[in-house]
């Protein structure tokens, strides 16, 4: 699809020029001209009062899409443990497969992780494609890419979903190029078009200021990486079984060009923001790093964990692993308490789907109050002790 100006209808009002997030539109003798920076996002179409901008379908060569079936989920494991996002994706994959009328399958690579095959069945996989080889024990870009690419060539999945972890975001792009298809990064919502059954992939763009729905109409598989913590985990059904398909693994000299020499686990205690039921976050309003002691006190009292805004992380008050937001972690706990966080759009993008949001801020005009279920205007150094007191 491309965006085109219908010259006869354009009145030169320049509304599109202002609306374009990518500065792609310029004026030429009172006519809007769409330049090379255009991403076909369509923001200009919505603002044009004269209907002078339209989207045009272009005829592009793709593949015979009727040959492709099933939804695949990359079952990412580290140290023999499935990543939470892979389980979330099985739930989401099952939903999509139900709407298309096909199977949801997991693709598992590792060294002697047979126990995970059963776990994947129990979380809803109809089929598990399993590659078992010592060379696959830890993630290796070349090795994983080769094995999964060959499986895609052979079994032709319609959709491939990966968690948007550092590993999923490394593997996905390589696989997409190998398969000659597109990849949509960091999706937060997936839907199936009820008419043509195509995957509609929605993701934040432009630093979370815009949401874009992306299609991959003529190429297969349709590939997405999905943000951890966004989709619901399915219930585990003990004893549930499915079909196991073993994948061939054969590497030639030169296939694997990198070697993992060592895996070092983080020295700081792992902060599991994505799994937390309660998150108490601190921002610039804390004033200094000592403020996080009070934040931690409240988090501990509520059985939660400590989060932070980018401002607090950038100030060096707390480790990046605590960061909530567009460039940090996306969270949706039952209770999110934002203390001294003004509510930059990037932060809101990462927490606004929390069930209950409580904002404590000195400034009543702070944008965080726009998304808060309960707002308290006041000094957090007085409000938090009062909350602790009220909790008894």
């Amino acid at each position: 699809m491309a965006v085109r100006v219908i010259d006869e209808k354009c009145k030169g009002c320049q509304k599109c020029v202002k609306a374009c997030p990518f500065e792609a539109i310029t004026m030429n003798e009172r006519l809007a001209v769409i330049g090379a920076a255009c991403t076909s996002c369509g923001a200009c179409i919505d603002v044009c009062p004269f209907g002078a901008i339209e989207k045009v379908e272009d005829l592009k060569k793709g593949v015979d899409i009727t040959q492709y079936h099933d939804v695949w989920v990359f079952a990412e494991q580290r140290d023999g443990q499935l990543m939470g996002v892979s389980i979330e994706l099985l739930g989401e994959g099952k939903k999509l497969a139900g709407e298309i009328g096909c199977k949801v399958c997991a693709v598992l690579l590792g060294d002697k992780v047979d126990n995970l095959v059963d776990e994947l069945f129990e979380y809803g996989a109809d089929k598990v494609y399993y590659a078992n080889d010592p060379a696959l024990a830890t993630y290796n870009t070349d090795a994983y890419n080769k094995v999964i690419y060959q499986a895609i060539l052979k079994y032709k999945p319609e959709i491939v979903l990966l968690g948007a972890t550092h590993i999923g975001r490394d593997l996905g792009p390589c696989l997409a190029v190998q398969c000659g298809t597109g990849l949509t990064a960091d999706c937060t919502k997936l839907d199936i078009d009820p008419v043509d059954k195509k995957l509609m992939q929605t993701r934040p763009a432009f630093g979370g200021n815009l949401m874009a729905t992306i299609l991959c109409p003529n190429h297969r598989p349709q590939m997405s990486t999905v943000r951890p913590g966004v989709m619901e985990k399915p219930a585990r059904v003990p004893g549930r079984k499915g079909e196991l398909v073993n994948l061939n693994v054969a590497f030639k000299e030169g296939d694997i060009r990198m070697k993992v020499l060592e895996v070092v686990k983080g020295l700081t205690e792992k902060v599991s923001l994505t799994d937390a039921k309660v998150i108490v976050s601190g921002g610039r309003g804390l004033g200094d790093p000592e403020g996080f002691k009070l934040i931690k006190q409240l988090a501990d009292r509520l059985g939660g964990v400590v989060g932070a805004s980018r401002a607090a992380v950038d100030a060096g008050w707390i480790d990046h692993s605590h960061q909530v937001g567009q460039t940090g972690t996306t969270v949706k706990p039952d209770i999110y308490i934002a203390c001294g966080i003004s509510g930059a759009i990037q932060h809101l993008a990462g927490m606004q789907t929390s069930k209950i949001i409580i904002a404590i801020n000195k400034s009543e005009n702070a944008p965080i109050f726009e998304v808060a279920d309960y707002g308290i205007v006041g000094d957090l150094y007085k409000v938090i002790p009062a909350i602790l007191e009220a909790l008894g």
Binding site: F206, T213, C216, M258, Q326, I376, A390
Partner: protein
């Protein structure tokens, strides 16, 4: 060593605000900048240049003609030369088409030892163009590089950041590495360097210069298409609690208990 740095000019998305009434982007006065992760990639290249005499650093970018300003900044930081891939035909490219164009530009530059790119650009946040360019060039890639430890005869040892730690990876050269902000602190330009940078030519190539057919670039070569875009609907504003601090705290706890949230 011959090092190529891939860079992108991006709008500073941190300065974008939403018009609270119309729900549209306010873009006025938002400056264009060198993408932050790309600045880390360039800094890493410049540090290697200082360590290994005879190293050259070439910055390559795909973008509109205005991107030459960003490339001048790269030259002023210390890059030796800069190339801009610019053409109407490149417009509307997704990551798949962008990597094809960048790879074609890099091929034209000739043999290289190392390509450094930022992990992701702040306007798209995809983190795909680096590893995809590597795939197209047929070289290995390591993403999320937080430290370059050692360069050996035919390989490089780096630390790759993970959510819960890092891996030490040895990868064959030539290769592509993508940089994160933990890798280094990008340097500032000096006045003298800025003056020097304006004396240099920036090479501009279109699709013909890099031997690409118009059907191989831009929108025509993009498997993904933006179906629609919209500003995310704001969550409805809730209740502002009133009274003294202890009253507000007590009211909050009571409300949470009523909702069985506690």
């Amino acid at each position: 060593m011959k090092i190529i740095v891939c860079a992108k000019q991006v709008p500073n998305t941190n300065e974008v605000k939403i018009d609270p009434v119309k729900g549209t982007l306010i873009r006025d006065g938002v400056p264009s900048i060198l993408n932050p992760d790309d600045a880390n990639a360039l800094e890493a290249a410049l540090q290697l240049k200082e360590r290994y005499p005879g190293t050259t650093v070439t910055v390559i970018s795909m973008g509109p003609p205005q991107a030459t300003y960003m490339l001048r900044e790269c030259l002023a930081m210390g890059a030796d030369e800069a190339v801009l891939l610019s053409s109407r035909a490149f417009g509307g490219a997704d990551t798949c088409a962008t990597s094809t164009t960048l790879a074609a530009g890099i091929r034209k530059l000739g043999k290289f030892d190392l390509i450094l790119a930022g992990r992701q650009a702040i306007d798209g946040d995809t983190a795909q163009v680096g590893p995809q360019t590597a795939q197209r060039l047929g070289v290995p890639s390591v993403t999320y590089v937080q430290k370059i430890r050692e360069i050996k005869k035919n390989s490089i040892v780096v630390e790759r950041n993970l959510e819960d730690g890092y891996e030490v990876i040895e990868v064959k050269m030539p290769c592509v590495l993508t940089a994160i902000k933990e890798l280094n602190e990008p340097r500032y330009m000096t006045i003298a360097q800025i003056e020097e940078a304006y004396k240099k030519e920036i090479t501009i190539w279109n699709e013909n210069d890099i031997n690409l057919a118009p059907s191989d670039c831009g929108l025509n070569a993009s498997p993904t298409q933006v179906f629609r875009s919209f500003t995310p609907p704001p969550k409805g504003k809730g209740e502002m609690l009133t009274g003294t601090v202890p009253e507000m705290a007590a009211a909050l706890i009571q409300k949470l208990r009523e909702k069985h949230a506690l």
